[in-house]
Amino acid sequence: MTQQVTVKVGMADLNIATDGALIRTTGLGSCVGVTLYDSAARVAGMAHVMLPSSEIARESAFNAAKYADSAVPALIALMEEAGASVKRMVAKMAGGAQMFAFATQSDTMRIGPRNVESCKQALSLLSIPLRSEDTGANYGRTIELDSRTGILTIRSVQYGLKEI
């Protein structure tokens, strides 16, 4: 039996998987894992988004994978190089939790929901349908997308495995 290759995506990072490989990112808290999949080309892409908008970047040459608004286009570009077409892409996403509950709700503390909102906006700008999501709540997630099937597996401490 051959082992399926797993491509790892770090925090504020993006990558693609082809040829039946898996693509995975661990420990999503308020971060959002946005995945895109082209079932005809069997190209899977994943971005581990940390912040909602690149407008707040205070660095000059920023990392596109870190912000929702820049990560989605960057991921699409990478997938198209591998033979995918943006017209066939469907999205799934997970994460955007609120890990800690506070009485005072400053904007920073609400970062999870804001990340989710911003990812949805970036997808709808490019008319990519959001097939399913597992976002919000207050727990961390590890996600894995299979480039053969487009199934997104979500693992969490409290709820175990879940497929969307």
Binding site: G10, G27, L28, S30, M50, L51, A97, I111, N138, G140
Partner: protein
Amino acid sequence: MSDVYGIGAFKLDVLREIGNIGAGNAATALSRLLDKPVDMAVPQVSLLPFEQIAEIVGGSEQIVIAVFLRVEGDAPGNMFFIIEEPSAKRMMHRLLSLDIREQEGYSEMELSALCEIGNILGGSYLSSLADFTGLSLMPTVPSVAVDMAGAILSYGLLQFGEMGDSALLIETSFLEGRDLLEGHFFLIPDPDSFNKIFRALGVTTE
């Protein structure tokens, strides 16, 4: 902000001393709580890529118990007190005489107790730091979570996220020798707070 990234050896020593004073006081508080000696490692001050930070506590998916406090005042930042599950259970047993069965999860009572421990330790860390620097530093009400280390720690890195892909943090481990209670203190001052801390201590920042 290039200052933080090009931070010199002397400033790193200053930050290490901050970890030493803060965590030293917290370790003393913990030692009183447990009525046992608590040892502390030399604080580590490092500029780490986001990806590597969770490695300190056993990797991004390692399940940990974390008490999070936001530091408010003159030099805002984030503080985490992180312990691994077996340690937390043993500590509960010692402090509250709660019966530890090999049960999954935590009762409300246990979580509340952990939160309070975090509160006491975080408070003693910060008050010693405030005394030392003359800055006003106040912890928010603590919040506790049992989850993957990566998911928890990323929460404290958001302020650094706007600046780059790595964060400067002060980490101190402590352990209670025989029962193997092991924990970590993370102080992650906001990027803008470093210069305020240096200035308060009379370290020249250009």
